[in-house]
Symmetry: C2
Subunit: 222 residues, 2 copies
């Protein structure tokens, strides 16, 4: 075994991971999977692509050992292959953050302007929940809520929010959270709540980061 050959093999293994995240669609799939396991068709719909194509990308991710599968009846459920993958994805995302400053104004505003809305850190939220001072809204789709949510949070998908406002006492403070820092659901929810006269903030990031921080997670329907 030559030193050069060994090195080549080593860096080739590293590059396998790199190749897996060299495609925007595959990253979007990883982002969806960070919320919990999902079927191929579901993922294809979520990432706006054909089922065949989604299946192909998922195969690629599986060969790189970033995702794992489980069969349930006629469907194949994909999930992230461990927390290491999530840590890696978050590191990638944070590193790419500075690049967003370069792309068009429009995109920048779409994702970054929301930082202006006041956010709550995980620790703050924990404290608030413990004192019972706030209502915590999980504004993701209900299936994602069921797969894991912050204990004490209630599932309020965005399209049900308006209806829910009518039964909510005006003086309640609300903290909304969703998939992560680039998810637009929580910011939209906060906007809706504020225009309805409520005090509302959003969690600075989302469910995956909460779980990765080792904080408690509740599973199943509330």
């Amino acid at each position: 075994m030559d030193g050069r050959d060994a090195k080549d093999t080593l860096y080739e293994q590293f590059a396998r991971i790199g190749k897996a995240v060299a495609n925007p669609k595959r990253i979007e799939l990883l982002d969806l999977l960070a919320q919990g396991e999902r079927s191929v068709e579901d993922l294809a719909r979520g990432a706006a692509m054909g089922v065949t194509n989604a299946s192909n990308h998922l195969q690629t991710l599986r060969q790189a050992r970033l995702v794992e599968t489980r069969k349930e009846g006629t469907r194949v459920l994909y999930r992230l292959a461990g927390d290491g993958v999530l840590r890696f994805y978050i590191e990638l995302r944070d590193l790419a953050r500075s690049r967003l400053a370069e792309v068009g104004e429009v995109v920048r505003d779409y994702f970054l302007a929301r930082d202006a809305l006041e956010t709550v850190t995980r620790d703050e939220l924990l404290r608030l929940v413990k004192h019972g001072d706030v209502a915590v809204f999980d504004v993701r789709p209900r299936e994602e809520f069921d797969q894991g949510h912050i204990p004490g949070a209630v599932s309020v998908p965005l399209d049900e929010l308006t209806a829910r406002l009518r039964t909510l006492p005006k003086r309640t403070e609300v903290v909304a959270y969703c998939r992560g820092p680039y998810c637009v659901l929580a910011p939209q929810a906060v906007e809706l709540l504020r225009s309805g006269g409520f005090r509302a903030r959003r969690l600075e990031d989302g469910m995956p980061e909460w779980r990765l921080a080792g904080l408690p997670v509740a599973v199943g329907q509330a």
Copy 2:
């Protein structure tokens, strides 16, 4: 701005980072740059490729903002663009670690069998140095030592080690370190030292990890 367009742009930015590390040679360049800044020709030699090719890869890395440049006379010096890049690289490397178990026995042994040799953690080494109980050997090339090394360490490139052994008291314990967990310099040094009758161990990882952990770094010739 449509939500789909915005998402596409977002994930495209993430994928730019992915594409940058989708090639084994580029990863090897990053690995070299983790030790400090180097010129194009130097990097090309270190990664065993043509200068033109190396320059191309470095351009790619620069466009992804993973590296930055500085001109010095007729040469261009490349360096990592901040600690975020190093953190990302380390996360990638750790994630790829499990894949090494799949490749041939030969490669696995070349890099992983060395784990059998007893290692020292960073905290242990700090304590040992403070008590003055050990000699710390930096077995990387001298240029890398000059760009940053553990305070109190002496530069002993591998090819000078044998000569150095003659002036070393037999009862001295030595801790050797090099570029990182996949670098073969320190393990080879330990082997040499032991076969010469010395007590020797190696640091579990290398200089970049030491620096990233916020531990003190000395610059310049000892």
